[in-house]
């Protein structure tokens, strides 16, 4: 009985990881997923900052643009966005595939980051701005020295949580023929005809990264709360 289980496990490991160096497919897929997530996160934060500011200013045109952007992104499936952005807009350029995909995911994540930053700033008591302005600080100085430092405490933990979501979202990168971690699972399954093991491995790898991020988020939250 025990021998039987052992045999099944060692076979699974042999065929899905060792034979033909298949573990390399997972390793490379892991690298692609991480690169994609990091680039997309950077692009998303940059877009999110710009759009959050656009939403918070009194400029009507900027308000409209930012609102249209977040509405469209949050109102459509990310797979659809990825394909449209990839083929229709960026596919014709000669940029590396992974960069184009990062931009697509960044544009997607940016909408959620926008809302996150906006909510973080709005959560700061409005008396803070009034007190700063009443002392003679300009709007910009009040934002910089009074509002933003407090908003960051609201924003940072939520941002880490958005990165976790983003990492999982990149699992659809296979739709544009990018060999990410999930795609590695599909490729290995195609060779071994083992329906379970490749994706259990993939799931464990995702879980490993997200649990690191989750632990980091918890520590960050505690640190930020302490400094109050």
């Amino acid at each position: 009985m025990l021998e039987g289980i052992f045999k099944v496990l060692s076979d699974a490991i042999f065929y899905n990881l060792i034979r033909e160096d298949r573990y390399l497919l997972f390793v490379n897929g892991f690298k692609v997923s991480i690169q994609l997530t990091v680039f997309a996160a950077l692009i998303g934060v940059a877009i999110g900052l710009l759009m959050a500011i656009s939403k918070l200013t009194n400029n009507r045109i900027l308000n409209r643009i930012a609102t249209a952007y977040t509405d469209v992104i949050r109102g459509t499936p990310s797979v659809v966005q990825l394909i449209v952005i990839y083929y229709a807009i960026l596919g014709s350029s000669h940029l590396p595939k992974i960069l184009v995909a990062s931009i697509a995911f960044g544009i997607n994540s940016g909408a959620y980051v926008t809302e996150l930053i906006r909510a973080g700033i709005l959560a700061v008591d409005k008396g803070q701005m009034e007190a700063a302005r009443s002392l003679g600080l300009s709007y910009y100085q009040s934002m910089r020295y009074v509002i933003v430092p407090q908003a960051i405490k609201n924003i940072l933990p939520a941002l880490v949580s958005e990165f976790i979501v983003l990492l999982k979202e990149t699992a659809i990168a296979g739709y544009i023929a990018l060999d990410d971690l999930t795609r590695a699972g599909t490729i290995v399954r195609g060779r071994t005809f083992d329906p379970y093991t490749p994706f259990i491995l993939v799931a464990l790898i995702y879980l490993y990264i997200t649990s690191i991020l989750t632990a980091f988020m918890g520590r960050l939250e505690r640190r930020l709360r302490q400094s109050d």
Partner: protein, 240 residues
């Protein structure tokens, strides 16, 4: 020092100030009393343009501030404000709260600003709270830091909006004492308050606001012992 002419303020369709006129002299302590919703805060907040007047003129030191909305930051340096909810910056120590505006607005060197902050904390009776964060202070202590913060810009006028209303009763006295001291030093003060004892003792003049206008005004003796208007009498009989 302050002259208000026919001041009107609307919030959308709601008319909150319906033609306020008054003149406040240098060194005067003016207390504003009146029922909730009568427009006291709105009037006070117009004086440093936290609210933009819909109509009318406000002159401070002879200059129309309503005409010079661009120089708003300059104006606010001359007019300190103390809020009911203190509004201290929670991510800064007491000293840093006080230093912020002198350093960033006036460009005062850090060490000079720090020295000034320490002096001001001593003045409001908190000599040992330099490096303490607002969350570690009691309500009364917070409000005294807030007063010190406003004083750091050497304002010519101080505005107080119910500075003791958010305090536990046992802490009201310490804040009023600081305000009284300021008044004795000759600061021009406009104080919205429900503390009739303070208004009577420290105020030079009392304004009774009712439904967006100054319905009656006079010295504390006139107002408290012998109010002329029925509305004033009705209000005072409720609060005294």
């Amino acid at each position: 020092m302050i002259k208000v002419v026919d001041l009107h303020k609307y919030f959308g369709n709601l008319q909150v100030l319906k033609g306020v006129n008054n003149e406040i002299k240098k060194g005067e302590v003016v207390c504003i009393i009146g029922a909730s919703g009568s427009g006291k805060s709105t009037f006070l907040r117009c004086l440093n343009l936290l609210e933009e007047p819909t109509k009318g003129e406000i002159y401070i030191g002879g200059v129309s501030i309503t005409e010079h909305m661009k120089d708003i930051n300059k104006l606010r340096q001359k007019v300190g404000m103390v809020f009911q909810q203190f509004n201290l910056f929670p991510h800064m120590t007491a000293t840093e709260n006080i230093m912020l505006a002198p350093v960033r607005v006036k460009g005062m060197p850090q060490d000079e600003a720090r020295k000034k902050a320490v002096e001001l904390l001593r003045k409001v009776g908190l000599p040992d709270k330099d490096d303490v964060y607002p969350s570690q202070l009691s309500g009364g202590q917070k409000q005294r830091v807030a007063i010190a913060r406003a004083l750091a810009m050497d304002p010519e006028i101080m505005l107080f909006d119910e500075p003791t209303s958010a305090l536990d009763p046992e802490m009201v006295g310490e804040v009023l004492a600081v305000m009284k001291q300021l008044a004795h030093e000759g600061m021009t003060m406009v104080v919205v308050t429900h503390e009739m004892g303070f208004a009577r003792e420290v105020g030079n003049r009392i304004l009774f606001m009712d439904e967006g206008i100054i319905a009656e005004e006079g010295t504390p003796e006139e107002m408290f012992s012998n109010p002329k208007k029925e509305r004033t009498r009705a209000f005072l009989s409720k609060v005294l």
